[in-house]
């Protein structure tokens, strides 16, 4: 990239950068290279697979609830489950996860109840009050305003560093999110203080109807890290082994004081953007069909089967158990009584200002209103 192309002594190279990509598993589950140690651990491998499949079963249930009018708009994670699993299996309990809105697998791993996710999309704030005693309790809730959660990582990581803690922040967002200034202001500044942050971009090919190649002029999303002098790397996000390996490496770098990294995980959104979307309007069906070949669940299952870690009986048991868990979460959600209307004032401030008491009283006096959920 030279503006002046003549081969003059006036022009010298002052920096150069390379972008790498990592993938261990072929779509059929066969290995490209010798995988990291954790893949040899039967229990870990089984746990990762179980989380992935359970998440898929939950997702299916959530979509079904929405389709039958029992849930509000829901953002499915179909096809992207491996990334959440990799996050869940890479972060330490003490670390802080700042999610976008699709990483349910990671949230489940950190203690968010399945029911809570339904509650949130069902229009109940109580779904974001993750249980005390779990890592999720100190994690951030889902963030709907795209990319705006990413710069919170700067403050969170700064606090950790100020206190001399060896903790790490992982902030995730989508490919579309990388177009927002909020994303960039975080990436541009993280290295100033050498903060323990991993920025994760789940590049699922689409931001609603915009294909990722029309989102920016950049050839990769990984290279957006270069704008902040940050290690940026791509990984096959449908390969849970590679994703966990790269994330773990980034997390450990951060933990060891080596500063921030950025990871672009390539995946694919197999579902509509949300249940309110109809992707057939803008997306060729053939692309979706082809993408199913790269399905992360299928791929990792083939791998653990080949390792002798998994068999059909295991699969049947997991499907039954995961389906039941999703069903139980749905029942729990559906049985919840809506919050009292006046609860809309309960957490506005630490304590309600006197000037607002009459409003709370008015809402309480009216009681539940027709037309509500």
């Amino acid at each position: 990239m030279k503006l002046l192309n003549h081969d003059s002594k006036a022009t010298t190279r002052i920096a150069s950068y390379e972008i790498f990509r990592t993938q261990y598993l072929n779509p059929d589950g066969s290995l490209i290279a010798d995988p990291p140690a954790f893949t040899k651990d039967r229990e870990q491998a089984r746990a990762m697979y179980a989380l992935m499949l359970r998440t898929r079963l939950f997702d299916k249930k959530a979509v079904a609830l929405q389709r039958t009018g029992q849930l509000g708009t829901y953002a499915a994670v179909l096809g992207q489950e491996a990334i959440g699993v990799a996050i869940g299996h890479s972060l330490a309990d003490d670390d802080i996860f700042i999610p976008g809105y699709r990483e349910y697998a990671a949230q489940f791993a950190r203690g968010v109840p399945l029911r809570a996710i339904l509650q949130y999309w069902g229009g109940d704030e109580r779904g974001m009050d993750y249980p005390a005693g779990t890592p999720a309790h100190h994690d951030f809730p889902l963030s709907v305003p795209i990319a705006t959660q990413v710069p919170h990582a700067i403050g969170v990581a700064y606090a950790m560093k100020l206190r001399g803690e060896k903790r790490v922040v992982l902030a995730s967002c989508g490919d579309g999110a990388t177009s927002k200034g909020d994303f960039y202001e975080a990436v541009s500044s993280a290295k100033i203080w050498n903060l323990p942050i991993v920025f994760l971009i789940s590049n699922n090919g689409w931001a609603i109807s915009m294909p990722s190649h029309r989102q920016t002029g950049a050839q990769t999303f990984a290279q957006k890290g270069l704008a902040g002098g940050i290690n940026g790397e791509q990984v096959d996000g449908n390969d849970v082994i590679a994703t966990r390996a790269v994330l773990s490496a980034a997390i450990e770098r951060a933990r060891n004081g080596e500063g921030p990294s950025l990871v672009e995980a390539l995946t694919y959104r197999l579902h509509d953007h949300t249940t309110a979307d109809d992707a057939r309007r803008y997306r060729p069906e053939a692309e979706v069909t082809a993408a199913w070949e790269r399905c992360p669940v299928k791929r990792f299952k083939a791998y653990i089967e080949a390792q002798g870690f998994w068999n059909q009986a295991d699969e049947d048991a997991l499907v039954a158990e995961g389906t039941a868990a999703a069903e139980a979460a749905a029942q729990e959600f559906l049985k919840l009584k809506p919050a009292a209307p006046e609860s809309m004032f309960d957490h506005l401030y630490a304590s309600l200002p006197k000037a607002l008491e009459w409003q709370r009283d008015e809402v309480a006096a009216r009681g539940p209103v027709q037309g509500a959920h």
């Binding site: 509000g72 708009t73 949130y120 999309w121 069902g122 229009g123 109940d124 704030e125 709907v144 305003p145 795209i146 990319a147 579309g176 999110a177 177009s179 927002k180 200034g181 909020d182 931001a207 609603i208 109807s209 915009m210 029309r214 989102q215 920016t216 309110a276 979307d277 309007r281 803008y282 809506p338 919050a339 209307p341 609860s343 809309m344 004032f345 506005l348 607002l356 409003q359 809402v363 009216r366 539940p368 209103v369 027709q370 037309g371 509500a372 959920h373």
Partner: protein, 340 residues
């Protein structure tokens, strides 16, 4: 949803929804004026998340129907850049809660280039967004942003309340030589239909609409809350109370003359707004009444408004949004204090 492509004259006037009227106004003005473009997130092939731009890509092509990256500051800034070059940019922001990243560009630039350069430059742009709640949408999709912008010098702020007004006011907004924030009532998008003729006639941007005349009470509202306000007037009529109903529609600049004239006649006023009460545009109307209408008031000026708390998620949104019950209660209080 079928596109409404309607030439005026011979064909029957179609009965359309508010969102179809928005679509019609854009299509109609894009046919008329080749300098009009639309831009925003998912507005091309997808036709916008509410389908406001449906069919525009096919008719006008990628050049004039611009799918932008996911960056609201950029959408506003790009609209500014386009408009300084005489391209009338009609930008869509997907949901009201995502208007905030536009505030800096809109306030510090769109609203100021004309003033800053003593008229050398100008920003004839429109920023459209769905506004207010009631459709069980996710977090940040149901906010009411009109006051945030109406406060700002150099802007116009428009909130239509019917298909016909959406059509006429959007035409006016696009043709206006200055920046217009056009906030569409999400829950009225498909609530009812109206015959709307594609006659290219714009509505005025500086006058309230008197929806119906009345003698006993002035009801003032705009946008989505106009629907409940009209229902209240119906109910009151049955009870023998004659309410004058005013749709502000063009909040900024505010046509207080019409409201003052009405209150001079009725002596009672209730202002209905969905945005939070404290510092809302209802307060601006009430403050003007306190200054210029005090002597004609028989009773306090009442505001029925959204509460001063965060817009709740879907399960409680109906407890937040004013409804006919809440409006009627305030009206009855008024008539208790100052009987007819």
């Amino acid at each position: 949803m079928a596109r409404t492509v309607q030439k005026s004259g011979v064909l029957p006037v179609p009965n359309i929804t508010l969102i179809e009227a928005v679509n019609l106004a854009m299509a109609s003005e894009m046919r008329r004026d080749p300098n009009v473009v639309v831009l925003g997130e998912d507005i091309g092939r997808n036709g916008g998340v509410f389908r406001a731009t449906l069919g525009l890509l096919d008719e006008f092509g990628e050049g004039r129907v611009i799918d932008t990256p996911l960056a609201e500051t950029l959408v506003a800034a790009m609209a500014i850049g386009l408009s300084t070059q005489g391209i009338k940019a009609v930008a869509e922001i997907q949901f009201s809660g995502f208007l905030y990243p536009c505030v800096d560009q809109v306030v510090n630039h769109a609203a100021r280039y004309r003033n800053r350069t003593r008229g050398r430059m100008s920003c004839p742009l429109v920023i459209r967004a769905p506004n207010s709640g009631g459709i069980h949408a996710p977090e940040h999709h149901s906010e009411s942003l009109e006051t945030t912008f109406a406060q700002m010098p150099g802007l116009r702020v428009v909130c239509p309340s019917s298909p016909a007004r959406a059509y006429g006011l959007l035409l006016a907004a696009i043709r206006d030589p200055d920046p217009v924030i056009f906030l569409e009532p999400t829950r009225l998008y498909r609530l009812f239909k109206q015959p709307v003729e594609d006659d290219g006639e714009a509505l005025p941007l500086d006058s309230c609409f008197i929806d119906r005349s009345g003698a006993d009470l002035t009801l003032v509202s705009w946008g989505a809350m106009m629907h409940d306000t009209r229902l209240v007037a119906d109910q009151l009529a049955e009870e023998g109370i004659s309410a004058e109903v005013i749709d502000i529609a063009t909040l900024k600049p505010l046509d207080m003359a019409t409201i003052l004239a009405s209150v001079a006649k009725t002596g009672r006023c209730v202002i209905v707004s969905e945005s939070p009460r404290a510092g809302g545009w209802a307060s601006e109307v009430a403050a003007n009444l306190a200054e210029h209408g005090l002597l004609s008031l028989f009773a306090p000026v009442m505001r029925v408004a959204g509460y001063d708390t965060v817009m709740p998620l879907a399960q409680l949104e109906r407890s937040y949004i004013p409804d006919t019950d809440r409006i009627l209660r305030e009206v009855r209080k008024l008539f208790e204090m100052a009987p007819k």
